[in-house]
Amino acid sequence: MLVFGFDYSVISDNQDALLDGLVLTVEVAALGFLLAVVLGLPLALAGRSRSPLARVPAMLWIALARGVPLLIVIFWLYYAAAQEGLFSLTAFVAGVLSLGLTGSGYMAEIYRTALSAVPVGQYESAAAIGLSRITAFRVIILPQAVRTAIPPAMNLFVMLLKGATLLSVIGLADMFYTAKLVAVNEFKPFELYTAAAVLVIAVTLVAALGAGLVERRFSKGVRR
């Protein structure tokens, strides 16, 4: 173990600021995740469409979202777009958007995998009892796909949570930003970064455990 005379007082003195920062990080990640979940489904459906009019743009979007590093998306949305006078965003909005857009590509893939994991027989028998395609999707296919999608989606949330820590680079006053400020002022980077790291790890571990629990709860009646 590393023992360097760990100074707890720096942490307890700045406890509130750090926790506020942590809440902010989780908030941004949660909103970004929500955006990804909402955008992902139409993207996945368009990506599966037979019509090139829907498929090609969706595939491009997914490739873009998955191929460009998050940090570049953040810089692009925060600095580049503002410079061109397209729009100018607060760090918070830029953070949510960049996490949501990046996440949407991953989420679309998650939906796609989950949808194709539903056996063809389910589509057939839904059609055979006279359900329209839309109803069949809504009441038969989607509920089954969602159950398969939940564990990887929770992993995506963990990934976005980790991504959210990057937002301190554009000055979002999250935990690392706070930690950095205090660390610089009090020359205690080790304590502060350790504390911040432990907090984030705790949150991600809780999220990962939650993923396991949610998975068990939702798999009721479905075991393949």
């Binding site: 590093p69 570049i72 991953y106 994991a117 970064y193 991600t204 990962a208 396991g212």
Partner: protein, 250 residues
């Protein structure tokens, strides 16, 4: 809006191409080295989890869980700024980056290796031993090729994520592609042009690697038929690309 775009000036991006190319080169170097190290680390961690000694198996499980929970950015700051001030040893940016990347990715790879190892049907082993192959031959000639074929797609995803994650090393001053772009974006006051260029370059590299990796997968699987069983285990590993498996206790 169109007026704004009319003012785009990609000239400086082109002028700085050799600098950007240097950044790309650094990125490639770091990606490849850290991925190779991550494979080694992944094998060790996977071996720990499979160990018959319970403490070692639990240690492996715990390590994998914790590493999967750590954000690269957090680890970098901690190693580069935190440890330095506390312990007095100062990392060089590039080794620090490589170490952090390979450490984190080894946890993902360990899970992939484990899933792949378990995805090969037990009948394969029984059949091999039944025809009198020694265990070593079974492992090298029967088991490993199948495990490789099952795990390759997921490994590809980790590799791609690894390439993308090198951009985060810019925060500790590794002059890879993003850092170069950032530098010149500030110098020329042209963030839009330089960041767009960086995004396009990343996208191109990722696309190239993805296609290259597919070829590799096909080569590795050229004698093995992609049966339903194999495909299902792939889907299992896929999820959100590589980083999907929820680890379970040993």
């Amino acid at each position: 809006m169109t007026g704004a775009f009319a003012a785009l000036d990609f000239g400086p991006v082109w002028e700085m191409r050799s600098e950007l190319l240097k950044g790309i080169w650094t990125m490639v170097l770091i990606s490849v080295v850290s991925f190779a190290l991550a494979i080694v680390g992944g094998l060790i961690l996977a071996g720990m989890r499979q160990s018959k000694s319970r403490p070692i198996a639990w240690a492996g499980f715990l390590l994998i869980q914790v590493l999967r929970g750590i954000a690269l950015y957090v680890l970098l700051l901690w190693m580069f700024f935190g440890l330095a001030s506390a312990g007095g040893f100062q990392f060089e940016p590039i080794p620090a980056g490589i170490l952090a990347l390979s450490l984190l990715n080894s946890a993902y790879l360990a899970e992939i290796f484990r899933a792949g190892y378990e995805a090969v049907p037990p009948g394969q082993k029984e059949a091999a031993l039944a025809v009198g192959l020694p265990r070593r031959t079974w492992f090298a000639r029967i088991h490993l090729p199948q495990v490789t074929q099952i795990t390759l797609p997921a490994m590809g995803n980790v590799f791609v994520d690894n390439i993308k994650d090198t951009s985060i090393l810019s925060v500790i001053g590794v002059t890879e592609l993003l850092r170069e772009s950032q530098r010149w974006a500030q110098f020329y006051q042209l963030p839009f042009e330089f960041y767009t260029a960086a995004a396009v370059i990343y996208l191109a590299i990722v696309t190239l690697v993805t296609f290259g990796w597919r070829r590799l997968e096909r080569r590795a699987g050229r004698h093995l038929d992609t049966t339903r069983q194999v495909r299902r285990s792939r889907a299992l590993i896929f999820g959100i690309g590589a980083r999907s498996e929820t680890a379970t206790a040993p």
